[in-house]
Assembly symmetry: C2
Homo-oligomer: 554 residues x 2
């Protein structure tokens, strides 16, 4: 038997998954909860935008989880492991010295949050992101075209610039900044030194303005155009080729091999972001859209490099090989999905209100359109396709009879319509989408949501059989670099599965949702686009007509 290990670095914990390379069977898994900060996130009571992580948690997490899965799998299981794969949140850059050692682990900086990993959801660099967007719009619009038109405060260069301005001492001590997804493989293979460090295409392409189209990372002149050259120390460290998850960054070094009980010399795959490897764990291929549905969503699709691909307006990122080698990776997402439902349940019902299950039961008794309600799912802004964090949510069609179950269903439907806008945009730009495979907590917990999505998309909604698709995707990359799978085609075919239950569209619901989606689109464009002027007079009436028609049915 050949096995591989996937390491999945999340926001609050790290998971290791040991799988059978032949069929993806999950042999053992273990989770380590980070010990620093608030559930692993170092926060600042005076600045709600700040979110950091301690690099020591990553190291401890590797040790605890790998040892435990090998223990679970039994004696000598370590000898069957052919490779390791890594995914992480991102953009989560870590300031490092010239040897690639994290500053946050070194004496002068151990208590300084600015020397820690800048977690993906750190939003302190909003102003810097706007400056970078403006600079790119002025001189390199092609940079923005690959990332949806707006550079985000969550991303690499914005965070570096913010650190340079906030804590010059830390910034000066950092020879470079390394994405968490790149740093862990480098640590395991002892290749953290900047002249040996491999960076993965996923983080580089989606967050760092890297593209072969313009010769790699952005030009020093561009960087100097917004930061007076201060970031070029980091830029100058980017000398090694950028690689994808079918390539290894090196071999597991002796020290780590002995310590963990693994064979010395097994390869460690290039790292990538969690959702990207999660898409592989779901079985992504051309024609398959993967939706990771949690507090927010991440939506991924791939299309062969050979076919070419135009830019997709409003889609967060289009990067060659960021998901599947040999394919363009296309990433989009909704800023809030589960968070909207949690807001309704917990924030809007301060007393003992209805819980998720009760609201689902109540919402499930309704026919589409029966409530007369329609919502815009922008309670946390809109990531795709409008790329506008200053949009807000809306509920239309309220009457004195509107009930919690009706509103809850309208909120679910609004996220389905927002999801369909993303699918439709991809399709309109030449990306084939024949089926959707979902993963993430909500895809398992809410059959009602899944059925509504099937009806709104008018296509089958499948659910991944794995409940840890990110770690599985990492283990699949490990199987490929370890030679246990020939390539990702074979790995996807043999190591991923979907659940037996597939949500099929119900024709009569499809027809009603087509009407509702037409109204949603009018609201979407009217409130979301500067040029989206509309006549809204008919909207409320159309909803009432639909409500009457649906209620009149038996």
């Amino acid at each position: 038997m050949q096995t591989s290990i996937g390491l999945d670095f999340g926001t609050n914990s790290v998971r290791a998954l040991l799988v059978d390379c032949a069929d993806g069977r999950e042999l053992a898994t273990s989770v380590f909860h980070y010990t620093h900060g608030d559930m692993g996130v170092i926060i600042d009571a005076n600045d709600p935008d700040l979110a950091r992580q301690h690099p020591g948690d990553y190291i401890k997490g590797i040790v605890h989880t790998v040892k435990r899965v090998l223990d679970q799998a039994g004696p000598k299981s370590g000898a069957t492991v052919v490779g390791i794969g890594v995914d992480s949140t991102g953009s989560t850059p870590i300031p490092v010295d010239a040897k690639g050692e994290a500053l946050g682990l070194q004496a002068p900086f151990v208590d300084n949050p600015h020397a820690m990993a800048w977690l993906w959801k750190d939003h302190t660099a909003t102003r810097e992101a706007a400056e970078i967007t403006a600079a790119a719009a002025a001189s390199h619009p092609e940079y923005l075209a690959k990332c949806g038109g707006v550079y985000s405060a969550e991303w690499y260069w914005a965070k570096l610039l913010k650190c340079a301005r906030t804590d010059p001492e830390v910034f000066a001590a950092a020879a470079s900044w390394v994405e968490l997804a790149d740093w862990v493989p480098a640590v395991l293979t002892n290749t953290t030194a900047l002249d040996k460090l491999s960076r993965g295409i996923c983080a580089a392409g989606h967050k760092c303005f890297y593209s072969e189209e313009w010769g790699g990372f952005p030009s020093p002149e561009f960087i100097a155009s917004f930061d007076d050259g201060i970031l070029n120390q980091a830029r100058a460290s980017m000398t090694q080729p950028v690689i994808n998850v079918s390539q290894s960054v090196g071999i597991l070094c002796r020290g780590w091999a002995e310590y963990l009980g693994l064979p010395e010399g097994i390869p460690v795959a290039a790292g990538a972001f969690d959702c990207h490897l999660g898409a592989i764990g779901c079985g992504i291929r051309p024609g398959t859209m993967v939706k990771v549905i949690g507090t927010s969503t991440c939506d991924l699709a791939v299309t062969p490099l050979a076919g070419g691909l135009t830019d997709i307006p409003g889609v967060c990122g289009v990067v060659p090989e960021s998901v599947l080698p040999g394919h363009f990776g296309i990433e989009a997402g909704q800023s809030a999905v589960g968070d909207i439902f949690n807001w309704y349940v917990h924030k809007l019902q301060p007393g003992e209100g209805l819980n998720h299950a009760e609201l689902n039961v109540s919402a499930a008794t309704l026919k589409p359109g029966e409530s007369g309600l329609l919502a815009l799912d922008w309670m946390n802004g809109n990531r795709t396709v409008l790329v506008d964090q200053e949009l807000t949510g809306l509920i239309l069609g309220l009457t004195l009879h509107s009930s919690p179950g009706e509103i809850f269903r309208a909120l679910i439907e609004s996220t389905a319509f927002g999801a369909r806008m993303i699918r439709d945009r991809m399709v309109s730009c030449g990306v084939k989408v024949d089926e959707v495979i979902c993963c993430g907590g909500i895809s398992l917990k809410s059959p009602l949501l899944m059925q509504i999505y099937a009806d709104v998309f008018n296509c089958p909604m499948k659910v991944s059989a794995s409940e840890q698709t990110c770690a599985l995707g990492s283990a699949m990359a490990a199987a490929v670099v370890g030679g246990a799978q020939e390539n990702f085609d074979t790995a996807v075919a043999s190591m991923t599965r979907i659940r037996d239950e597939v949500y099929m569209p119900i024709p009569e619901n499809v027809a009603v949702y087509e009407t509702l989606f037409g109204i949603y689109q009018q609201l979407h464009d009217g409130f979301g686009l500067r040029e989206g002027q509309r006549n809204y007079f008919e909207l409320m009436k159309d909803l009432i007509q639909l409500r009457k028609a649906q209620r009149a049915q038996a």
Copy 2:
């Protein structure tokens, strides 16, 4: 001492109020809860639109309440009474025989709801109202111009037509139909016989298409145009002059005088609708708008007949002398105000949520605009100025941080904006509004709402000192017809008072609400008017800018 009695026939009960004619001091009051149906309303489990009342409840109510106030006021108090005034809900027509006796009190019909009083809120005649609207639009648009452009299912002719179609036997037995506000004075003065019956201008003008402009009640030809002539039996009974509340319908007959312990021969004033006499009880005069704020609102203003008045588009009714003799009476209203707050508290919080008081406390901590929320107050349609029951409510600006207190404040503000649309429409058509006097439960219970109204209106909000302004207004009419007051000018000056606490506009809030009202108007016109095409892109952004500015303040 001279006293007078006001009788106020409400939806669930009747109240008698004994006042001192010199100063309006309330000497005694008594309430009788109707005994039939569900809290006085006869309903039908199979038809939620049906709402009727038993005429026997009115009779019993007179006896109980008048006897009790005289008991309370002490021996011989009956001898001080100089007159009786009557107000009631409406349009609440009662089918009667040629002697004016209510069919519902007669043997063949005692259990038949169609033979009872058709309570104002009976909505069974929706289709008939639409037919009447269409007929008037085709041949007599001037009829519609006086009642806001749409004839309502709550009104006289629609209810008659519905009865003719639903229960021809009852309809055939009815020699005529008499408004409750006209029937009670006729009963007390023994003038119910159709050739003696006086009808009041308030009900006739607002609900029956009566106007001196076209020679009185609508032409038989017009009525035949929508009903094949069936309603002309009722139309033919309308032979007596129509009178206003400064005139008496007759004198208290001996039987009633002896039975109640009142002087024989005291005059009974013509009846009017509750809100109209309530406005008099509040002290209405030119320049004063009266708002009766309860589950819905009724808004009233007057302007001298001598000055003339154009039609006011979208305002429910403009009728000479329907409120104050010598003046045009202008009636408008919002379909839901308190009902919106009750919906939020009771329907949207099915568990133990926050009550009204807690939500008020929470909402009161916010500055205007701070929540970024804006609502349209159309959860029960829009009565004025859009006259469209198929409009629905909307909440804009929702985020994952939006809280119940924020939403509750936005709902209060939405009703204030809706109220301002009415005030502004009246003013734009030449009605002077210098001050607002409020009455009704909410004006007493919610200082927060009153302050917001003062800020949104940018004018002082006063509250009537009387908590039964309708009965007081009726007693004032009684004082006038009884000769204890010279006219309504003197009665208003000496018999009405406002509370000491006046809500004054707060300049910094006024400025913010001016901005918010501008956004509200755009939503109002965009969703409410067929030609109201708008570009909504800026609306969410404007709200966020305002939110930021307000939060940035100390």
